[in-house]
Symmetry: C2
Subunit: 346 residues, 2 copies
């Protein structure tokens, strides 16, 4: 089984690749090649040392021949311009998200049309497809039956691609699946410019010994998923059968990956409980109406029935999310701070 991951060296791409290299199998077949396609390949990427890994570097639309030079069994399409970029540069977003996805779909279709295997294509969409249109406010609990009314260029591009994946699947051109990713927290690494960035920052920075600001009211409710659960969801959607039985996906309706609903106050309380007062006190409440408006317009509660039928569950608690972050990123923890830091080691 030759698997391609676009955005293979991004935050999620690396984690999906790691998981596949550990499992060495997908859909019951052995992994024979893992192609990581990305515009940027870090010089020190440990992944490239694995003999199963091939690297395709450059703009996706210019590397399709290389990617499809040998049959692609599964393509996990994670590459994307992010929301802030798409809002700042409309044409870049349309090109990087819409046109590139369409080119991938057409290349996959060409493989099948030429007698090759029907590629299984997992498209990573986003909770950003939902926006609260004044003419049609979101219901209190959102499901895949809720009409997405995106209020960002990024959300529109993701939503349009979801429908192209559904249509290419209906026509028999690809075996397409859509996983809608929730806001992922706690993300490791540097703060980014995303409006949701603080949802990782208010945990990550204090644990690293750094100050953090929380721009929203503590009673704001948000829907989150840990990186572990997100990777698990992507691979489960990739593996799902095509019947209408339990654990199978009929049609190409997206799957909202499971979300844990928490208040920001619960997040901060968890940090205090897990890491102690000294760490939690590094967070300052600095209200920012603009950020509160954006994040507050996102759905905070989901009916996860479709994901549950695939065997996917939300994180069991925000405490579990924080403990997993500490376990996965010992390098990012100012351990001396923690009341019982040793308990969190691997």
């Amino acid at each position: 089984m030759r698997i391609v991951i676009t955005g293979g060296f991004g935050f999620l791409g690396r984690q999906v690749a790691d998981a596949l290299l550990k499992r060495r199998t997908l859909c019951g077949a052995p992994l024979t090649r893992l192609v990581l396609a990305d515009r940027f390949v870090p010089a020190d990427a440990a992944l490239t040392a694995d003999p199963l890994v091939d690297v395709v570097q450059g703009d996706l639309t210019e590397r399709l021949d290389e990617i499809f030079a040998r049959p692609v069994d599964v393509l996990i399409h994670l590459a994307s311009a992010v929301s802030a970029e798409c809002e700042a540069d409309f044409d870049l977003g349309m090109s990087a998200n819409l046109d590139t996805t369409r080119a991938l779909l057409d290349a996959a279709r060409a493989q099948g049309a030429a007698g090759g295997p029907l590629p299984r294509l997992v498209f990573s969409s986003s909770v950003a497809v939902y926006g609260s249109d004044p003419a049609l406010p979101l219901p209190p609990v959102v499901s895949e039956a809720t009409l997405p009314t995106p209020l960002s260029s990024y959300g529109t591009q993701k939503r349009v691609c979801e429908q192209l994946v559904a249509e290419y699947t209906r026509r028999g051109f690809v075996d397409g699946r859509v996983a809608r990713l929730m806001t992922v927290a706690v993300r490791p690494g540097k703060p980014n410019a995303a409006a949701s960035g603080f949802l990782s920052g208010i945990i990550r920075e204090p644990l690293a010994g750094l100050p953090a600001t929380c721009p929203v009211s503590p009673d704001l409710r948000v829907a989150l998923a840990s990186p572990r659960r997100t990777v698990e969801g992507i691979l489960r959607v990739a593996e799902a059968g095509r019947g209408s039985g339990p654990g199978e996906l009929a049609g190409a309706l997206p799957v909202n990956l499971p979300a844990l609903t928490v208040t920001v106050a619960e997040m901060l309380g968890t940090l205090r409980r897990v890491a102690g007062d000294a760490v939690a006190d590094r967070v300052t409440l600095t209200p920012d109406a603009a950020v509160e408006a954006i994040v507050g317009s996102w759905p905070a509660a989901f009916d996860n029935a479709r994901a549950t039928a695939l065997g996917l569950l939300p994180d069991e608690s925000f405490e579990a999310v924080v403990l997993a972050y500490i376990e996965d990123h010992p390098e990012a923890i100012a351990s001396a701070d923690l009341p019982a830091a040793g308990a969190f080691g691997p």
Copy 2:
């Protein structure tokens, strides 16, 4: 006010053009030029005789410079590959519907970006955006809040374009509006290959003295709109203001044009009542499971609240639809047949 109609010599394009040339005004401003753009221009088109009319013939994407050579105030985009074509030739549909609409949107955006007026763009979408996905059956009554799950390439392309129009509007690139057209009946002219064709044919052919077959069960419910109501709806959506008051359109959520729900039995009963037994007896019931499956998967009942707020109402009865057809198309009626044919003359 310079108004452009794409598909200007199609069935609806000609009727919209006729209505505009009669009114000589739109949005309170006088009509100064009416540009009819189409791939085919009939040699005998009476419309071209009007001194206000300009004709742009050829592929839209190759004629954008000509269309936008002078400022476009309102663009009514009716040109489209039809559903059967899009299903038979996927690439043709993607090009004619998706790529062409995007090119129009970009040309309109360029006009505003160059300091010209912000073009008002009316996109004609279709009830075909709705399909009954096995994983998510349609509710008994459909509204604009219902998630469209198109089950045709045509419906997918229309739905994707709806979302691009909404996004270009949100970004301030155009003033876009989306009118979702219902199944239009009674259509004049020749039978076409559409699955819905019989909904016009079972009225039109008998009135013309010809036999007709009805491929569905008489108790099937369908949602229809007359050509008159459809043209009225397109122009009303074009004229709607942009506030949130009554009769105004906030945001770019589509408007489902109003639909009259009737059973096929009621349609046939109306024909018998209006035109007599001899005419109605020309219809033969010849069940066709394939046609029944397609037409039966379409929504049959709508919550028309959004259209009503714009002052749009469905046809008052199917009898009114048939009488209007007879009045508008005396050339297509074998008048000798009718019990009181003179009553229907102009």
